[in-house]
C-alpha cells in the first residue's frame, strides 16, 4: 500500500518537472487563460468570439491609420489590442502590439509599418489555435 502511494507520488513529481521545463506557450496559453477565468468555459468561448471579431477590425484600423500616417490612432488601437491579447493569454500577439504601440508613440511609423505583417501573421496563427482549442470545447 505504502509502496503504491510512494510510486504514485514519484510519478506526480516527475510530471510536474516535465511541465515546468516546457517552454511557455507564446501563441496561446490555454491553461493560464482558463485559470484566470476561474475555468468558466462558457465565458471563455464568449470572450474568444468577441476577441476574434474585435481584433480583426482593430488590425484593420491600425493598417489604415498607418497608411494615413496617423500615429495617434495607431498608438491607441495598438494599446487596445495589446490589452485584449493579454486578456486571452496571447503573449506573442501582445508583444507585437506593444512594439507597435511604442514605435507609434515615438513617431517611428516606419518601424510600426514593418511590424504589421508580423502581427497579421501572428493573429492568423492565434485564430487557428483559438478555434481548435476554445471554440470547440463542449
Amino acid at each position: 500500500m505504502i509502496e503504491k502511494w510512494l510510486k504514485e507520488s514519484e510519478e506526480m513529481h516527475d510530471t510536474k518537472i516535465i511541465q515546468e521545463s516546457l517552454p511557455k506557450d507564446e501563441i496561446f496559453d490555454k491553461n493560464s487563460f482558463l485559470e484566470r477565468l476561474l475555468d468558466d468555459e462558457d465565458l471563455a468561448r464568449e470572450i474568444i468570439k468577441e476577441f476574434l471579431e474585435d481584433s480583426l477590425s482593430q488590425i484593420d484600423t491600425i493598417k489604415k491609420a498607418l497608411s494615413n500616417n496617423n500615429p495617434k490612432l495607431v498608438h491607441r488601437q495598438a494599446h487596445s489590442l495589446k490589452g485584449a491579447a493579454a486578456n486571452v493569454s496571447a503573449t506573442a500577439l501582445k508583444k507585437l502590439a506593444y512594439q507597435i504601440e511604442i514605435a507609434s508613440k515615438t513617431g517611428d511609423m516606419a518601424k510600426a509599418s514593418s511590424l504589421i505583417s508580423k502581427l497579421v501573421e501572428q493573429f492568423e496563427a492565434l485564430k487557428k489555435r483559438l478555434t481548435q482549442q476554445i471554440l470547440t470545447i463542449d
Binding site: R36, L37, L38, D40, L43, E46, I47, E50, F51, D54, R76, H79, S80, K82, G83, A84, A86, N87, V88, S89, Y98
Partner: protein, 305 residues
C-alpha cells in the same frame, strides 16, 4: 451593490461584467468615458467605479478628477479603481494623485480583482455609514430633544436667515414670542413629567395652527418662538390668534389626568432692517404686556392698547 465599469475593450468588459455579476454585484457597463461620466451623474449612481485609464471620449483619470471635484460639492463618495496595463505601472502615481482609490493591472488576476472590489465595497459602506451619522448629528444638533422642534440655536439662526431674506426681497417678517402661562404651577401640581407632556402638547398644537412655511423653535424653558416669514402685522395677529384658539380648544390629557393650560404671545414685525436681538426684544416686551393684561392673549409690539 452596484458597480460601474467603464471599459472600451470588449474582452476586458466581458470578463469584468461576468465575474462581478457572478460574485453578486449589480453591474452597470459603459463603453466610453463620456457614457461613464453621464452614468455617474445620474441619481442613485453606483458608488463604486472601475474605470479604464485609456478610453475614447474621456480618459479614466479625467473622470476621476471630475468625480473628486464634484464630491466636494455634494455629500457623497465614489470609490474609484483605475484599470491599467501592466506596462504603464509608473502611471499609478498620476492616477492616485488624480483621486483614484486603487488600481488593477491588466490582464486581471481574478482573485486579486475580487479582494480589491471587496475592499472598495467596505470603504463605500463605511462612507455611507459616516455620512448617515453626520446627517443624524446635524439634525440632532438642531433639534430640541423634548419637543422635537428646532432648538434655541437653530431657531435664532433661522430668524437671522429669514431677516436677510426679508431685506433682500423688501418683504416683512414677524415673530411670536410664546410663553406657557403659570407653567411653574403645572410642574408643582402635576409633576415635571406632566409638565414635559404639556410642553409637547403645546408645540404639537402650535404646529397644527401655523402656516406651512412658518417655523417654531424652543427658546428656553416654557418659551417658544414662532417665525412668520412674509407676515405683516395683521397676518401675524391672525396666525397668533389661531394658535391661541388651538391651545384653548381643549384641556391637555396626560395619562388620564386633565391639565388646563393657556399661553400668552408677544408679536413683533419688521421689514428686514431689524437685528435678531432687536426683533426679539420687541416681541419680548409685547409678551410682558400680554402677561400684564391677564395672560391667554396676544399683544403686538406696535399696537398700543
Amino acid at each position: 451593490m452596484r458597480i460601474l465599469i467603464a471599459e472600451d475593450d470588449v474582452t476586458s468588459r466581458l470578463i469584468l461584467e461576468n465575474m462581478l455579476t457572478k460574485w453578486g454585484y449589480d453591474v452597470v457597463a459603459a463603453t466610453d468615458g463620456g457614457d461613464a461620466w453621464k452614468k455617474l451623474q445620474e441619481e442613485d449612481a453606483p458608488k463604486l467605479a472601475i474605470l479604464d485609464w485609456m478610453m475614447p471620449g474621456m480618459e479614466g483619470i479625467e473622470i476621476c478628477r471630475r468625480i473628486r471635484e464634484n464630491s466636494k460639492k455634494e455629500d457623497q463618495y465614489t470609490y474609484v479603481t483605475l484599470l491599467t496595463a501592466k506596462e504603464s505601472k509608473e502611471n499609478i502615481v498620476t492616477g492616485m494623485d488624480a483621486g483614484a482609490d486603487d488600481y488593477i493591472t491588466k490582464p486581471f488576476d481574478m482573485h486579486e480583482l475580487r479582494v480589491r472590489v471587496r475592499a472598495g465595497q467596505r470603504i463605500v459602506q463605511l462612507q455611507s455609514e459616516l455620512l448617515e451619522a453626520k446627517k443624524n448629528l446635524e439634525l440632532l444638533s438642531r433639534t430640541d430633544p423634548l419637543t422635537g422642534v428646532l432648538n434655541r440655536r437653530a431657531i435664532l439662526s433661522h430668524i437671522e436667515n429669514e431677516l436677510s431674506r426679508a431685506k433682500r426681497n423688501s418683504s416683512h417678517i414677524s415673530i411670536s414670542m410664546l410663553d406657557l402661562d403659570h407653567f411653574k404651577k403645572i410642574n408643582d401640581t402635576f409633576g415635571h413629567l406632566a409638565g414635559d407632556a404639556v410642553l409637547r402638547e403645546s408645540t404639537n398644537r402650535v404646529e397644527e395652527a401655523i402656516r406651512t412655511y412658518d417655523t417654531i423653535g424652543r427658546f428656553g424653558g416654557e418659551e417658544f418662538i414662532v417665525v412668520l416669514p412674509g407676515a405683516k402685522q395683521t397676518d401675524a395677529l391672525t396666525v397668533a390668534e389661531r394658535i391661541r384658539r388651538k391651545i384653548n380648544e381643549k384641556i391637555a390629557d396626560v395619562d388620564g389626568v386633565s391639565i388646563p393650560f393657556t399661553i400668552s404671545q408677544g408679536l413683533a414685525t419688521c421689514n428686514g432692517k431689524s437685528t435678531v436681538d432687536g426683533l426679539i426684544a420687541k416681541a419680548d416686551e409685547a409678551l410682558y404686556r400680554a402677561k400684564e393684561k391677564g395672560r391667554n392673549c396676544v399683544v403686538h409690539a406696535d399696537v398700543q392698547e
